[in-house]
């Protein structure tokens, strides 16, 4: 897939995102946009707390917070390696957590992740997309890296500046 057009229109998304005043409002917008442009079925955004070494995410309605383990699975591997990952055959990957699928009743075929860094180049979150027909490729990864960086300012603004009042 060619992302040239997406890059040209990315600023429209960015402006809309900055209308959101909280992660609860912002995360569903980011998810919806990422799914659309990358043509994936699901998107999760995990917010990472390095001090507590925990990750949390919201369910699809964007309301309920759930905490997940930060040192396991493909997401854990992404944090450890500090780089994006593509897994096009989830069930044959040693790090894939089959239990998560069992609990949710949703079958993951393939996935892509990208770390989100703050201004001090520490990981503040992980962007994850699931199930793209035909799997994810290097063009998807390039866009994921760009997009994760593009939204990092918003996530840092919400988590840092807002906290200070």
């Amino acid at each position: 897939m060619n992302y040239a057009n997406t890059y040209l229109k990315l600023a429209d998304f960015g402006r809309e995102l900055l209308n959101k005043k909280s992660l609860r409002e912002g995360i569903p917008l980011i998810s919806k946009y990422a799914k659309e442009v990358i043509s994936a079925s699901r998107c999760s955004i995990f917010i990472y707390d390095a001090q507590k070494n925990t990750l949390w995410t919201t369910l699809s309605d964007g309301i309920e917070k759930i905490e997940v383990t930060s040192n396991k699975g493909i997401v854990g591997k992404t944090i450890k390696e500090k780089k994006p990952l593509i897994v096009n055959d989830a069930y044959s990957h040693p790090d894939f957590l089959v239990d998560v699928d069992k609990e949710s009743g949703y079958k993951t075929d393939n996935l892509i992740t990208a770390p989100i860094f703050d201004s001090n180049r520490r990981i503040i979150g992980i962007l994850e997309l699931l199930n793209k027909e035909g799997g994810f490729d290097s063009e998807d990864m390039k866009f994921m890296i760009f997009f994760a960086h593009y939204i990092s300012g918003f996530i840092e603004l919400i988590t840092q500046v807002k906290k200070e009042g």
């Binding site: 960015g14 402006r15 209308n19 860094f117 994760a148 960086h149 300012g153 840092e156 603004l157 500046v161």
Partner: protein, 161 residues
Amino acid sequence: MRQFDKIAEFGQKLMALQNIEESLQLISDEAKEIVNAQRCSIFIVDEEDKMLWTKLSDGIGRIVVSLNSGIVGDTYLKKEPQIVNEPYKDERFLASIDKKSGYITKNMITVPIYNSKREVMGIIQLLNKTMSDFNRKDLETLTFFANFVSGSLELAILKST
């Protein structure tokens, strides 16, 4: 919350701009305002030609320096922000630029801007903070600011090439 709204509003303005010249001007004006500095230059890294260039610096027009020269070059090499409150006592300082512009640099702060690949793609340089020297708080503010504008700047550079 007021600060949040101000930054968000600035971000939306920045994202509405269509070309890199306008983007650099807006970033530069905002940076000066948030740390109370008189002048700002935004240097863009040109890896191929091993140069750092500005489109437009306050009062001097275009500046081009090699990647390893001056305090800006050192910021690029070390990937670390620099506070220089006595530039004329700093051996890295390029006094020739002051001579050319006729402007005296009293103090300086520089902060690297990273792209999505975590490479330094540019450097924000601010000169002459009014009333006091640059401090730790300015550095923290500008580090956040550099990341906040980096996505838009990377997009603007991508569109202009």
